[in-house]
């Protein structure tokens, strides 16, 4: 029973890690860059949620929608104002752009430190009470987190697999010149993808605020998870990131239950290293190969 309870807890946190990982890996897949300011997008959404929920007293669903829209705007504006000029100045812009995001990370952390101070802030919980199924106990808040994450993952999957915009994103991630020659405006895809990535991480930013609290460097937590999930799933691989998120969530929860909560991160990362020894490109590409073998033996 304890084991099952831990698996369920792991699924809940894993769903959030999947969302965090998908937003991060999306940008790598499309632009071949790492966005070091990704955690700060999370942090901004968390502060926004804190202000909107506890100071302004807005309902949670409205806070979520507002933060998704706000972070979409911030992400898109970041691409337009900071990244585009760097891209236009050099042919080989990956490393310069990564440095820009690193700079943005530090600037945002310090700006928030100046405005909000360094203390931990937060709310105790969005929802109280638990659902008791007899064999497992799950709090309503965790159920809500699970539901919102799964809904968001489904919406992202739909956007990428079923819409023209999603197909254009896939095209850009696989062959930039082929995409240009098909009439796809790369600039537009970059800007919208950056907005989408920030909008995705806005949701964990809002939903995890009661658990992680909010402070200027809170972004370090999600970006570490994003790195782990992305490496685990294969860089730029969205399916891989979804699976990687659940793997990380469950292994973390089991480690803290059966070994020590202090060892939680250590065990999870050791597990990640172990997987990478056997599948150096992550599990995503391996799963795709498997699927391809089934289609064309």
């Amino acid at each position: 029973m304890v084991f099952l309870q831990q698996i369920v807890n792991g699924l809940v946190i894993g769903a959030m890690y999947s969302v965090i990982g998908v937003g991060f890996t999306l940008i790598f897949g499309i632009m071949r860059i790492l966005n070091f300011a990704y955690g700060e997008f999370y942090m901004l959404a968390s502060y926004g949620a804190f202000v909107a929920y506890s100071a302004l007293g807005l309902p949670l669903w409205l806070v979520l929608i507002l933060m998704i829209l706000a972070l979409f705007g911030i992400g898109a504006a970041t691409e337009r104002s900071l990244i585009k000029p760097v891209r236009e100045r050099s042919m080989d812009w990956s490393v310069p752009v990564i440095m820009v995001t690193l700079g943005l990370q530090i600037v945002l952390q310090n700006l928030v430190l100046l405005l909000a101070g360094g203390t931990y802030q937060g709310v105790s919980a969005y929802l109280i009470g638990s659902l008791d199924l007899g064999w497992i106990l799950i709090s309503y808040e965790r159920l809500l987190i699970l539901g919102v994450s799964l809904g968001l993952l489904a919406a992202t999957w739909f956007l990428i697999q079923k819409t023209k915009f999603g197909l254009a994103m896939l095209a850009v991630s696989q062959n930039k010149e082929g995409a240009i020659l098909s009439g796809i405006n790369l600039q537009r895809i970059y800007t919208l993808s950056f907005g989408l990535s920030a909008a995705l991480v806005a949701v964990p930013g809002v939903m995890l605020m009661p658990l992680l609290y909010v402070y200027p460097t809170v972004g370090q937590v999600p970006i570490m998870k994003a790195f782990a999930v992305t490496l685990l799933g294969g860089m730029g691989n969205i399916q891989g990131a979804i699976i990687g998120g659940f793997v990380l969530g469950i292994s973390e929860t089991l480690a803290s239950a059966y070994i020590s909560s202090l060892m939680k991160d250590g065990v999870a990362f050791a597990f990640m290293i172990l997987i990478l020894i056997f599948y150096p490109a992550g599990i995503g590409p391996y799963l795709q190969q498997l699927r391809q073998k089934v289609i064309r033996p």
Partner: protein, 238 residues
């Protein structure tokens, strides 16, 4: 005399300080197949990349129906009726054949047009219809080339640039490919064919130019060039 539909004048291209194309002048007339031939490293691929704005360090004028293209963003060229099938084929390896073609058809407007265009390509290349749900990377070299051609043609461009379509293909496949190019041409598309396979290129095209060290050194009708001593010696192995 019919005016050319497409005209490149004084095109220069550079890799940093190194100039690789020197004052290229090129005219393409309506409804023709023009071959651009030359050895490896002569600048053929750079020429096409420069025309399509994929190679940014360039100067000169590029006109299509009298309209200057040098300042237009590269992705807008297909909307004007210019398509380019690059030498690494420009396909998307981890997407299915059908989705590759759908991306190729992005610039088509109007409901049902995409569907019609897709069926037309499937009719022309039945192998693509058979493989429609296969990932592009799982196709053979010849099938990938058919996909690249199909993707380039799906918008029925007025002017189609093909960069080394015969590379990596068996002699039989090259023969079939040249047959397809003839058919594309008969569908009303003007074709610029860049080839290292000089023999096949001169048999397919009506007119050709020879590129050497980034300059056009010879041009004329294919039959003239086939008799030209220099061409014979350098490219036809006679």
């Amino acid at each position: 005399m019919i005016p050319p539909v497409f005209r490149v004048s004084g095109l220069n291209a550079y890799y940093g300080d190194l100039q690789v194309l020197w004052g290229i002048d090129l005219e393409v007339y309506p409804s023709e197949i023009l071959a651009i031939i030359g050895a490896n490293g002569a600048g053929k691929t750079t020429l096409l990349r420069s025309i399509f704005g994929l190679h940014l360090q360039r100067s000169g004028s590029i006109q299509f129906h009298g309209e200057e293209l040098a300042e237009s963003p590269p992705h807008s060229l297909i909307h004007r009726g210019l398509a380019h099938v690059p030498d690494e084929r420009g396909i998307f390896p981890d997407l299915t054949v059908e989705r590759n073609l759908l991306i190729g058809a992005f610039s088509l407007k109007g409901s049902g047009t995409t569907e019609t265009a897709l069926n037309w390509i499937y009719q022309m290349f039945p192998i693509l219809n058979e493989r429609r749900n296969f990932l592009a990377r799982s196709l053979s070299g010849g099938e990938q080339q058919m996909l690249a051609l199909g993707k380039g043609m799906i918008t029925k461009p007025k002017l189609l640039f093909l960069d080394e379509p015969s590379s990596g293909l068996s002699p039989l496949m090259v023969f079939r490919l040249m047959d397809f190019i003839q058919r594309i041409y008969q569908e009303g598309t003007t074709v610029v064919l860049v080839e290292q396979n000089v023999h096949q290129a001169l048999r397919t095209a009506r007119r050709a130019c020879v590129l050497e060290n980034g300059r056009i050194v010879l041009h004329g009708s294919s039959s003239e060039l086939m008799r030209d001593e220099r061409v014979k010696k350098a490219y036809l192995g006679k």
